[in-house]
């Protein structure tokens, strides 16, 4: 996986799927239109200003709540290359992997990353460099089974490959 550089959008603990993408938009079939509403109830700037290549970094239990796959999807559509958090809610974690959006669970190391930082991330190696602070965080690479799904580009391709 190539190295990625981008700016950080930093959020706190327990960011839930209702604020990531409010349910009132869940009947929108067009993914681009859906993604225009990402995070709008807690951060109106994200939907307006986030650039492809920017990172989401958060605290504990990111993506708690609903099983809506629209939540990781809106970040993928916005071009977020990887989501980094202290920890993830399990369904969000699973959904992100299944749609081919990398996630890195790094525990309290997440506290070193602040809003507006610039990151260089190597998902395969499990390496996050905070470029503006010259700090490198290393984490365990994803388990083999999960990397297999990621490398196939998501669960559906993985299942297709096995059939």
């Amino acid at each position: 996986m190539r190295e990625k550089t981008g700016n950080v959008w930093r959020y706190g603990h327990h960011v839930d799927t209702d604020v990531i993408i409010p349910a009132r938009y869940l009947n929108i079939a067009d993914h681009k239109e859906l993604a225009e509403h990402a995070m709008e109830d807690i951060d109106a700037d994200f939907a307006k200003q986030a650039q492809a290549g920017d990172y989401i970094v958060a605290g504990k239990n990111f993506g708690c709540g609903s099983s809506r796959e629209h939540a990781p999807l809106v970040f993928k559509v916005r071009g977020v290359p990887v989501i980094i958090a202290d920890s993830f809610a399990r369904i969000f974690y699973r959904n992100a992997i299944n749609i081919g959006l990398p996630v890195m669970e790094i525990g309290q190391e997440a506290e070193k990353i602040e809003d507006g930082d610039t990151l260089e991330v190597d998902v395969a190696k499990g390496e996050i460099k905070i470029a503006n602070k010259n700090i490198t965080i290393t984490t365990k690479p994803l388990p083999g089974f999960i990397q297999e799904i990621a490398e196939a580009g998501g669960l559906i391709n993985c299942v297709k490959g096995k059939n």
Binding site: P22, A29, G65, S66, S67, R90
Partner: protein, 422 residues
């Protein structure tokens, strides 16, 4: 070391003699569920795999319950996709408007869930079925699309949190108060990635409705699933609902729990979770100054007949406060019919409440009771996240039906004992 209820069900469905926490397994599923907001994209993912049929047309359940009856044209299109898929793939268990219900009340009541089953649903509250000693968990639509094709899903075997229940519930205290007490103690990520395994002498004193409510909110503690043992209460509930032979699983005596929690049911009181997290739990009587604009009684958490009976007990012969909109939503058509026969619906209507056909509507901010800016609701639903029920600055207080009904009468959050004593 022995296995928990969850681990035994997973081992059997993975064709393994034994599994341990952390193992990644591929397990066969007994039932796959999706609904109108997940359906269209679930089917798109399924069709990418290119299988001519679903893994078993009798083991797939499709329920239009979220934006249903359709609230606008976009939702109507989504519901249509569900209906068309059901016809194309000859899905046995498709439930149409007027015969449907909120999925997590409907599936158990329809006899589709039995002890020892493994259920995957594209809805996070799929964990409700753990009340029947099934392993049931919420997954995303890609997971479900793959499961429709293969009849299998990958799972990480969860470590366990043991919850020992003892004592018996006091008056006006029910399942919702038990699960709020638990979440208040361990937090919204207190059981993250883990299973919540209930046991102890208090279990036998809980009704099936209480157990469904408790299992339903396992996800609000971050859990993968919540599960109860199968006992005579379970067996009585299943009589006449399913003729299928089932295989309950009991925990081994030496099953390992990463953490053990004890809850004495006798010491609980009516509780409320304050905005904007289900872990912000306080006794109802400490919140009696908080005025409300709306009371919602329903949802997959608290829309069952027992829940309506509790609300009716409080509302009988009383009137909803002038400043409050009360919305009552029986969870299934069958419950609606029973509530009608028992006079509950008459009680609600006479009290000045709106009674709706089954829908998830207001719980997830879809329709049928959206909150305007600055409004506040007491609700028997399961999540009080910011903006969940409407405007970003509206507020949701989660409670059981007794508290919601009592609050609807006074116009402020109210412990039911206050009303009963009046």
């Amino acid at each position: 070391m022995g296995m928990t209820m969850t681990q035994k069900i997973l081992a059997r469905h993975a064709g393994a003699g034994k599994v341990e926490a952390g193992d990644i397994i591929t397990a066969g599923i007994d039932l796959a569920l999706t609904n109108d907001i997940m359906g269209a994209q679930t089917f798109a993912e399924f069709e990418k795999i290119g299988k001519p049929a679903v893994f078993d047309q009798n083991k797939v359940v499709l329920v239009p319950d979220h934006f249903c009856p359709a609230n606008d044209m976009k939702s109507a299109e989504l519901a249509k996709k569900l209906r068309e898929f059901a016809r194309k793939y000859q899905i046995t268990h498709y439930f149409e408007i007027g015969r449907m219900g909120i999925e997590h009340a409907l599936l158990p009541d329809s006899g589709l869930i039995a002890p020892g089953d493994l259920v995957a649903g594209a809805d996070s509250h799929t964990c409700t079925y753990g009340a029947l000693n099934a392993f049931a968990t919420g997954v995303g639509l890609t997971d479900l699309g793959a499961a429709l094709a293969t009849g299998k899903t990958w799972l990480k075997v969860p470590a366990a949190v043991g919850v020992e229940l003892c004592g018996s519930l006091p008056r006006y205290v029910r399942g919702k108060d038990v699960v709020l007490a638990l979440i208040g103690r361990i937090g919204v990520d207190g059981a993250r990635y883990k299973s919540l395994e209930y046991y102890g002498s208090g279990v036998a004193r809980l009704t099936m409705a209480d157990r469904f409510t408790i299992a339903n909110m396992a996800i609000e503690a971050g859990a993968k699933n919540g599960i109860f043992p199968c006992d005579s209460v379970t067996a009585t509930y299943l009589e006449g609902r399913t003729a299928r032979e089932y295989r309950p699983e009991a925990a081994d005596a030496d099953a390992f729990y990463e953490e053990r929690i004890e809850i004495n049911l006798s010491l609980l009181e009516p509780l409320v979770a304050c905005p904007h997290l289900p872990e912000n739990v306080k006794p109802a009587k400490e919140l009696s100054g908080i005025a409300i604009d709306q009371a919602v009684i329903g949802s997959c958490t608290n829309g069952r007949l027992d829940d309506l009976a509790q609300a009716a007990e409080i509302l009988k012969g009383r009137k909803i406060n002038k400043k409050v909109r009360a919305i009552v939503i029986p969870a299934t058509q069958e419950i609606y019919s029973q509530a009608m026969a028992l006079g509950y619906l008459r009680t609600f209507v006479d009290a000045g409440a709106a009674v709706s056909t089954p829908t998830c509507g207001p719980c997830f901010g879809g329709h049928m009771g959206i909150l305007a800016a600055g409004e506040r609701a007491v609700s028997t639903t399961n999540r009080n996240f910011k903006g969940r029920m409407g405007a970003a600055d509206s507020e949701i207080y989660l409670a059981g039906p007794y508290v919601a009904a009592a609050s609807a009468i006074t116009g402020r959050i109210t412990d039911p004992a206050e009303i009963a004593g009046a």
